[in-house]
Amino acid sequence: MSLLHALAEKPWLTPGVAGDAPQRAEAPWDRGIGVGLFLVVVTMIFALVTMAYLMRMGHGVPAGSQGSDWRTLREPPLLWINTGILAASSLAFLLAERSARHGDGTATRSGMIAGGLLGFAFLGGQFLLWQKLSDWGYVLLFSAGLCKVGDPLFTFPFPQTILGNPALAFFYLISVLHGLHIAGGLVAWALTARHVFAEAPGAATARMVQLCARYWHFLLLVWALMMGLFVST
């Protein structure tokens, strides 16, 4: 029954057991809707950050004009390598998903291990990337002059010339948010991998691997879009 049809029901006219409800409220629940909703929330976060990025870019003196505080970053090659690692991770999950669907336990486990390790590798690569940017002088200023907290934690003596570049700030913000998203994915991966190694192949395992893979494909999609934003602006 379609949603519109369900919403058009006149419930006062139709006593009796109706057809569109689940047969009974059974557990364990399929997690597909929950995972999907969570990804919608994450989509909102990245969509809003993207809107903020574009608005901030065009604020005041437009980016690229003389006097603009928006200074485009150089892209280290590591950025592309990391993106490749994430794509490979997603591919490994795709293979794991297919294997799980065909009941091939060994291939599923291999795919899961490869996908997870590549996920860790991506996260490690991102740390190296931030290190690289830092070496180039692209650092945020934890400023004593600005922050009145008075804690030594916030008083790193970084050069102030770097302070005002919003392109850099957005890069750090987006890559850290995406890194947190990856960390969440690694938790989901760990839970799924535990199930894959503990249980025999079956429909339940295949579904778990499918949802885990879906999450990782989404991670790749978000990163690809964010990369597109960085590179094109």
Binding site: E9, G16, R24, A25, A27, I33, L48, L141, Q160
Partner: protein
């Protein structure tokens, strides 16, 4: 471990007191944890509001209220009431308690995540309240927390206060996301046999749509909070432009305060409806049950909830008229704001038409429901003034705004919450409350709320600004304003005191109140049909209920009782045949 016959999941009944009441995964216990925490922190906000009133009513008499304290009270009061009380209580409290019971489920779909949701919420409250004790105190930037003022020297709490506020909000959003995912998935997946979408009570509709809205809107606040924290501690300039603060130029350059405002209000306006929609749903059920009549225009009521929810994402900039915008945008947002009045008015008419020729029982929950109609219509009408750009600009930042939004999203949902607590208290505790105390509580609260907020409209139209610690010798302010302020403060004190009648009643009745009938109001919806009162873990005993009808079969001609429970099959005694 017991396996329930029709439910494949083994139910793990907690064996220890801590498992049952502290680290509980039972939606009912989590609901009570949410509710008690929300009401507790709400009391803090209530005390803060009374302190503000003391200053406004009797300026300078109370030396412990200094200008910076006043601004901190304003800020904390607003944020606590909107987010940590109303959102948490209506969704975390009522959402948790009612959804599984009303849709015929044993629990939420993800009970562990549900439990985590509460503990994250508690953590967010602790972080928020801890800001009272840090150097500089809590932030005093106003509940909207607009940068650059919130993080710039001179504003109270511009150091630790604002950081803790933003961290607390970010934690709250994590908590809400975990809870919201549960509410939505439970409605979508865990409805019992026969419970179609259009057989759900309006309460579930309101909470369901508000939860979806929260999942879409809170990310904007999350992003704004993270970016503000970075502006405050990491030296970024997302929101803060190049400014001179306390005589010295700051290190910021180029940030956009308007960007923050867009993010904040993209969350902030849907937030109004995140609070209002559950209240709309609940009040529909209160009115229907106590008027012994089916809710008028049920489908329109459900559709209006969905339409309001969708439209509320297209009106946010009406909070920013005075920030300046392209006149076409102003026109768009004024138009969308007025359009949202249509589904809202449909709901109001339907409530009134439900009452029309109903068998109205003026019990305490019904009194609160009717009081809500007064305050909501009142607040809605004053909203028409503020929704129009040209009228809004002179009224902006005056007490008229304070009167308006307190009527429409302060007093109105609170009245529904009181009505709902009185309505479901017998089911939650198995006891009845004291009628006399409850009626005294109602009349003082209702009349007192009018005595507080109606004069504010008058003060606002005279041009008295809000958020001012003292008005001083201002020429355009007549003496009547000062008398009105005194009167408001006295009324606020009475209303404040009257809440102790409520708490006394709730606590006393829990221990000494007479045993309640499992269905004292003759409710048709599922939560009144549980085998045990209060419902036990798993809610439904050995067998889940099957639903055969909608939740509003009241005063059906020919039926022996004036209600037919949702779980009663057609053809059984008292039910009617299909039309």
């Amino acid at each position: 471990m017991a396996t329930i016959a029709d439910d494949l999941r083994p139910l793990h009944h907690p064996k220890t007191w801590i498992g049952k009441y502290v680290w509980s995964q039972d939606h009912k216990v989590i609901a009570l944890q949410y509710a008690s925490t929300a009401i507790g922190v709400g009391l803090v906000a209530l005390v803060l509001s009374f302190m503000m009133r003391l200053q406004l009513g009797f300026p300078g008499r109370f030396h412990f209220i200094q200008p910076e304290n006043y601004l901190q009270f304003v800020t904390l009061h607003g944020m606590i009431m909107v987010v940590y009380l109303l959102t948490a209580l209506l969704l975390g409290g009522f959402g948790n308690y009612l959804i599984p019971l009303m849709v015929g489920a044993r629990d939420m779909v993800f009970p562990f995540v549900n439990m985590l949701s509460y503990w994250f919420y508690l953590l967010s409250v602790i972080v928020l309240l801890s800001s009272i004790f840090v150097p500089g105190g809590p932030t005093g930037g106003g509940w909207t927390l607009y940068p650059p003022q919130t993080i710039t020297g001179g504003t109270p709490g511009s150091n630790w206060g604002i950081i803790l506020m933003m961290v607390s909000l970010a934690i709250f959003i994590v908590a809400f996301t975990m809870g919201g995912l549960n509410y939505v998935t439970t409605v979508l997946q865990a409805r019992t046999k026969g419970m179609t979408l259009m057989r759900m009570p309006c309460s579930v509709w309101g909470i369901f749509v508000a939860s979806i809205m929260g999942l879409l809107a809170f990310p904007a606040l999350f992003v704004a909070a993270v970016m503000t924290i970075l502006d405050a501690v990491a030296g970024t300039s997302f929101f803060v432009p190049q400014i001179v603060s306390m005589g010295k130029p700051t290190e910021h350059v180029g940030g956009s305060p308007i960007l923050y405002q867009h993010l904040f209000w993209f969350f902030g306006h849907p937030e109004v409806y995140i609070v209002a929609l559950p209240a709309f749903g609940i009040v529909s059920d209160l009115i229907s049950v106590h008027a012994r009549k089916n809710i008028f225009g049920y489908r329109m009521m459900a559709w209006a909830i969905i339409i309001i929810g969708a439209l509320s994402f297209f009106v946010w900039a009406h909070h920013m008229y005075v920030s300046g915008m392209n006149p076409y945008f102003g026109f768009f947002f004024a138009t969308s704001t007025l359009i949202i009045a249509i589904p809202t008015a449909i709901k109001v008419y339907n409530w009134l038409l439900t009452l029309w020729r109903g068998d109205i029982h003026l019990r305490v929950p019904m009194l609160f429901a009717i009081a809500f109609l007064f305050t909501f219509i009142h607040g809605g009408l004053s909203g028409l003034f503020l929704g129009n750009v040209s009228v809004d600009v002179p009224l902006s930042d005056t007490f008229f705004v304070v009167g308006h939004f307190h009527m429409v999203m302060g007093v109105s949902p609170i009245l529904v919450i009181f009505g709902a607590i009185y309505h479901w208290y017998p089911k939650i505790t198995g006891r009845m409350w004291n009628e006399t105390l409850a009626r005294a509580h109602f009349w003082i609260t209702f009349l007192g709320a009018y005595a507080i907020f109606l004069p504010m409209h008058y003060i606002g139209i005279l041009g008295v600004p809000r958020r001012y610690y003292a008005l001083g010798e201002t020429a355009f302010i007549p003496p009547s304003v000062h008398y009105a302020n005194m009167g408001i403060t006295i009324a606020a004190g009475l209303v404040f005191a009257a809440q102790f009648l409520f708490f006394t009643n709730m606590i006393w009745s829990y221990f000494r109140g007479p045993k309640a009938d499992p269905n004292p109001w003759g409710g048709a919806s599922l939560e009144w049909q549980t085998p045990d009162t209060p419902p036990t873990h798993g809610n439904w005993g050995a067998k889940l209920p099957t639903v055969y009808r909608w939740a509003y079969d009241y005063s059906v001609p020919g039926a022996p009782q004036d209600f037919i429970p949702q779980s009663e099959p057609p053809g059984a005694a008292g039910s009617r045949a299909p039309a």
